[in-house]
Subunit: 93 residues, 4 copies
């Protein structure tokens, strides 16, 4: 069971919108729109993906990591390590 199960429809709707945003950016480039207006849309799409990532991570900590921690042992330590690596990738991207 994945932590994001309860938010699956919401996540899929957000990703659908983000996909549409990226396609819209390509259309703007294709139609030679003004650079600054394209950049505004790229910032919006980046923020949309960031929101998806934070939502996935919050669900992951609340469920998978919390449950593993409740059981303890090496699996718990590994889940925490894995979550920390994902957070570092996110902060640095």
């Amino acid at each position: 069971m994945n932590g994001y199960m309860a938010n699956k429809e919401d996540l899929l709707a957000r990703l659908k919108r983000a996909e549409g945003q990226v396609r819209g950016i390509a259309r703007m480039v294709d139609e030679d729109k003004y650079c600054i207006d394209i950049l505004t849309q790229v910032s919006a799409a980046t923020r949309a993906l960031e929101t998806v990532a934070l939502s996935l991570l919050a669900d992951h900590l609340s469920h998978c990591v919390a449950e593993a921690a409740a059981e303890g042992g090496p699996v718990a330590a590994e889940k925490v390590r894995e979550a920390n690596d994902a957070i570092a990738r996110l902060v640095r991207s």
Copy 2:
């Protein structure tokens, strides 16, 4: 004339790939893939969009802003102000 004209094909190819990445993330959510693996793909898509933004911005400074600066006057000042706002949005997103 937009600054990114010379890189248009490259930009469109990158955006096509980024769109495919976002669609791939939605598929992973739909197929209940593991949260951490999905997060890795979200970080990759975010970085891909960031590269598009930096490329657009570099072309914009090299062409539009540099040309306006060469002419001087209020248009030049406005172009620089506009670029600075876009950079701030990018750094903060």
Copy 3:
């Protein structure tokens, strides 16, 4: 007991260095150094603070959050929520 106890000396050493970096940046501004060289040092100091944050957060998840999760109940849920908020602030800063 805070999660970072075992890394306290390392954290203090990193923060001492970061403080020195920020003081160095002020000195560069005061001595009218070249903007781009100052910006390079600001990026380095920002990255140093980011590393401190990721280290604090990793220790927090490994200790405080994992221990609260092992006990369960409303305190556990609150610790996870609090960690998620801190991660969101970090990703967006």
Copy 4:
């Protein structure tokens, strides 16, 4: 002449405050304060440095880069390339 000359006092005041923030974070670690409260201060210090960077960059584009662009030639191209590299470092840090 550096672009930030007119803002020098403001930049030095901001850097002084950022230095104090980093010293305050070290004090919190030393006094075993709660991880999440320390993280809030690290995010604030990171944002303060980001504001310094955006201010330096804006002044640099408005002055050094705009003046070089007005003169044209290889120096102008080099200034723009250098600014683009600094922006990329900032966006990725």
